[in-house]
Structure formats: C-alpha cells, structure tokens
Symmetry: C2
Subunit: 257 residues, 2 copies
C-alpha cells in the first residue's frame, strides 16, 4: 500500500521525487490509536495537527440535547485539523472509528513547510478546498436528497475516496461505520438507517457485511443517486493530462462509465 498522503495530493499536484521524499519523511513516524478514541475535543485548543495514515476517523459536533452530526469522514491521507490552530478553540470533536495509525505534527513543521516549499503548500491548500467541497456536497444531500439516494451517494463517495488513496479492491472497500454512526452522517435515525440499508441490499445496489462494502455495479449505484464525482476533484491532474493528449475531454467524466 502506497503512502496515502502522497497518493491523495497527487490528485491535485504533480509531485516530483524530492517532494515525495519530503512527504514520506513527514509521515514516517506514526502513532497507533485504538478505535473509539477521541483525538481532539471541542472547546480545547489544539496542539498538534493529526494526519490519518490508516484507519478511519470522524469529525463531529454535538447538540445540547445529545444530537450529533458527523461532518466528515477522515480516511487515510486526510488531515484532521490542518487549519484548526489558527482559531482560539476547536468547535468540534475528532474521534477514531477504527484502529488507526496517526501522524502527529507540530504546527511549526507545517508552517515551515508552507514557507519553504510553496508547491507543497499549494497542495495542502488544495486538499483543504477539496474537503470543503465534500462538506458542501453532504450539506446538499442533507437538505435535498431523499434518504436512500443520500446513503447510496455516501457509499459511492467512500468507494472512490478509498480507491484514490490506494485502499480497497476494484469494487469493494472497508466501510467501518456502525449503523448508528451512519445515522449521524446521514442525519437520520439508526433504525431508519437499518431499513434503508435493507432497501439498497434488496435492490442489489450494495453488499455490506463485516464492515466491508461491496458494490457489484458501480455505474448502476451512481445512476441511482445521481452521483457526479466532480466534487471530489480526483481527476484534476488526469483530466489535464488527457486534454493535452489524444482525446477530447467529456464534460462530465461520470457518465462515461
């Protein structure tokens, strides 16, 4: 398995050998973290930055009544809190969903990196923009997508993002969230998650067991939920390469599958 950070940033910027080496060095020393462990707590100032190298974590906020919304799934190659040290206090929690390997980075190192390696800085900047784009897509789904499509959309996203960092097989990947956690992503009840999952299974859109997601027919799943992968900004470099090469680029690469 390749270095997920390098794989991820490669989607935004063409990294040279030197830059790859720098990123490798940065991610050399990982710290293990057990599942269900809080990495960052709301209301507390953050000290180190955290980068997921393996496993899955969640970012969420709580309501006084106990309601919870998960804002983001943090997969290998994702920074948990690249930005947070500029605000006086964190407003959300970060917690591992599975056993993870995490890199803890003092902010000074990142600051230095940003100053001395502007191309890498740009790549990090790019990564945070993609995260925001994903957040907006989730928001759109929460307000406007029916529940079954919302869930299907999430599964499409997870599969593609896992692939993008070299995790998972051709048509399957880890999907380590419990139904209750899924509920907190989708903004519905865990009971309702259960029923919608059954519906998706009955339609043979997904197979989900033992925390493994299998998608027998990705185009069909994508069609079901109007999934357009553009918001993940995965093809940025590939698209550019392709357009200076042979074929004319299609408007939306989604439909060509």
């Amino acid at each position: 398995m390749g270095n997920p950070l390098i794989l991820k940033l490669s989607h935004g910027i063409d990294l040279d050998e030197d830059e790859r080496a720098a990123l490798s060095a940065l991610t050399e020393r990982t710290v293990p973290s057990a599942a269900r462990h809080v990495i960052m707590r709301a209301g507390e100032p953050s000290v180190n930055l955290h980068l997921i190298m393996s496993g899955v974590a969640i970012r969420y906020r709580l309501l006084p009544d106990g309601g919870r919304q998960i804002f983001a799934l943090l997969l290998p190659g994702d920074f948990c809190d690249l930005q947070a040290h500029l605000l006086d206090h964190s407003d959300h929690y970060i917690e591992t969903a599975t056993d993870c390997a995490i890199v803890e980075i003092p902010p000074a190192i990142v600051d230095d990196l940003v100053l001395t390696r502007s191309r890498l800085a740009r790549a990090l900047w790019w990564a945070t923009l993609v995260d925001e784009s994903v957040t907006r897509e989730w928001m759109l789904g929460l307000s406007r997508r029916p529940t079954d499509k919302r869930m299907a959309h999430l599964f499409c996203e997870i599969l593609l993002r896992m692939h993008a960092v070299g995790r998972g097989e051709r048509d399957s990947c880890a999907m380590p969230l419990t139904q209750a956690q899924l509920a907190d992503v989708l903004g519905i009840t865990n009971i309702h998650v259960n029923r919608v999952l059954q519906e998706l299974r009955d339609r043979d859109l997904i197979v989900l067991k033992k925390r493994q997601l299998l998608v027998p027919d990705l185009p069909r799943l994508q069609a079901f939920c109007d999934f357009d992968p553009g918001y993940l900004h995965l093809g940025q470099r590939a698209r550019a390469a392709e357009s200076r090469g042979a074929r004319a680029p299609q408007p939306s690469s989604a439909r060509t599958l």
Copy 2:
C-alpha cells in the same frame, strides 16, 4: 459605516494602521451589481475574486431535479471565493440577493498580499476558517435542529454577523432574503417557511417586515434556539467585552410591536 472588511478581520487579528491602510486601498474601487445577478457560475473557472462591501449575496449549488441549497450568506466584508482559484472549476453559484457593491480582485494581488504581508495572510486564512465553522453549524442545524429553532438560529446569526461588520441597529438589521430563499437556506419548503415564520412572530420572538429583521429580546431568541455564538468566532480578540453584548432586556422595550 466603517469598512466591513477591516471590521471583520479585526475580530481575528489586531490590525495596525499600516494594515488598515492596505485593506482600505484594496477595497477602494467597488463595482455595483444589481440584485439577482449571478457573479459566479458553477462549472466555469473563476477569474477574479469577489468581496462584498455592501448588500447580501448567496452561495448555492443545484441538484439535477431543480432542488437548491444555499451554503452561505455573503455579508459585507465576506469574500465570495477567496479559495476557488486553486480548483480547476467552481462547483457552485454565487448570486447577489440585493443590490451590492463588490470589489473585484485579481488573484495575483491576493497572492502578492499573502507573500508580502504574512499577518494579513493570517487574517484572511482566519476568515476562511470562520466561514467553514459557520458552514458546519448550518449542517448541524439541517440535520438535527427542528425547523423553528433552525430558523431562529439563522436570525440570531444574521443579526450578530451584521453587527460584527457595523451594519444594523442595536436590535435590528437587514434580512433581505425572500421566503423562497430562506427555504433554500433552511432546507424546507417556502410554504413551510411561511408557517414557521408566523409561529416565531406569534411568540414575539421576531418582527420581520419590509426585509427588516427586528429582534425585541435577543437573549430570549437565543435561549429559544440554544444559540451559542462561539462558532462565529467573533470575540476572539475581545471576548469579555463583546460576547455578552446583549444584556437582559427591559420588559418595556419588548412591547414595541
């Protein structure tokens, strides 16, 4: 009325005279834009950055079926697309809701500013983090807050944000969205907006007419919707002085209908 950009950034960083002058110069030349005018279109690369100096704009995305979600209210002092020029294409629209005065800034100017004035760069960085925090709060509301509180929460936010940039009176400010636009912010139907608005009016929590919002008793409205202004990060520099700005109201003033 002070310069809204300076007022806004002052909440994040203590600006010196020199920095204020630089920001003043940056915002000197505004372009008028009529209400309901599209500033940025999804799918197109962005050329200039846009900064709102007066008026209100909205950022939104569309679904194939015509559904729309407004992701952000862009008030005076807000950048529309500070980040966007790093991604290969924009994934959302920006449109004025009222007549606006807008500053158009070539990306090169911002890049230069960032390189030569690291404190201002930091302030801009801070502003985008606050925007993200607001986005997350909206997301939490969409999934977990009942509609009436969601709407009340939005009104609290608008009032505070307008105050933060020197717009609006003690207990009132402009609220230029139509009920249909409000619906696209809150993720509900315009019909339902109408009914919930009536409920809030019946409870004397708000007075809204002629696109003017008046909150007779802000603490009561805040209590109603569990509003915690922390996510706006307004008090960062002067928390004690400012975050408890709304004192317990005189019962007499609550009678003014």
